[in-house]
Amino acid sequence: MRRFACAGLLIAAITPVAAVAAGDGARGRELYETRCIGCHSIEADRIGPRHRGLIGRRAGSVAGFEYSPALRAATLVWDAATLDRWLTDPEATIPGQRMSYRVGAARDRADLIAYLTTAR
């Protein structure tokens, strides 16, 4: 019985805390065009940094963009899980950040992440 319990702990340790559902990138692009475009674009730094190459990039690392001290000091790397946390509640993810824009619906987050994943 103890062996099963240990196996369970091992599985829990290697399983992501909250897996992000596969999203619809086409719908994500539509969402991006209406919800994110106020501050961001794929190619250019605007109020927020450009999103081309976001996946796999360390937070706060776009050269020339003026980040908050909190983002500059962050060690977090953007992937589906970290982006899901960030879009759910930026301040809880990196306290002191400036974005604060929240995407409440899990499906919307998944679709946005699917789209951003295509912007390599």
Partner: protein, 190 residues
């Protein structure tokens, strides 16, 4: 400056946590700040500064449109009117940030905005109006999306009022572009 907050009694009847907000709200409403302001909420300052950056860019975008030679009357007059709204938003936000003890972000150069918005691709009045509509819709949703993050709920209401202006701009621009209205309710924010 036009008042963003009315009636006053709704906003000054605050708890201790709201005293700070009364300062910002008073400034947004065009009134002098209370003499003894509390320490600012930097979280709210940060959100207001992002909003200010967005307003700076909107002013720049309309400036680019007006100077492009692509806009004809009456679209040009509408663009100038909407730019004046964004300037009023800018002034109100900057004053509120200052009242909270923050430093307002500066505007960038028109060249910077032209580059960021890829303005070189604009070739017609329709192109300019489509860019403006895109930015106005983005601004609407940006304001709606940060409302839950404000520590001071009254600033959330200010954001909602700014979003209403942006929505009005988007609606007018969409009409000019002969675009259909949203087919479903609750199409903004979420």
């Amino acid at each position: 400056m036009q008042s963003l907050i009315q009636p006053r009694r709704n906003f000054l009847a605050v708890s201790g946590a709201g005293v700070l907000s009364a300062t910002a709200v008073a400034v947004l409403a065009g009134r002098a700040a209370p003499a003894k302001a509390q320490t600012a909420s930097m979280a709210d300052v940060n959100i207001l500064n992002v909003a200010l950056g967005l307003e700076h860019e909107a002013i720049g975008a309309y400036e680019l449109g007006a100077k492009s030679g692509l806009l004809q009357k009456p679209a040009l007059d509408v663009a100038v009117l909407f730019q004046s709204h964004h300037k009023a938003h800018r002034d109100a936000l900057a004053a509120a940030i200052a009242s909270l003890g923050g430093k307002a972000v500066e505007t960038k150069s028109l060249d910077d905005y032209a580059k960021a918005l890829n303005a070189g691709t604009l070739k017609s009045q329709t192109d300019v109006l489509m860019l403006a509509a895109r930015l106005e819709l983005g601004a609407t949703n940006a304001y709606l999306g940060v409302i839950p993050a404000f520590k001071d709920a009254k600033l959330g209401q200010v954001a909602a009022r700014l979003a209403a202006d942006e929505t009005m701009h988007w609606t007018a621009l969409s009409g000019t572009l002969s675009r259909a209205l949203p087919a479903t309710a609750l199409s903004f924010g979420a």
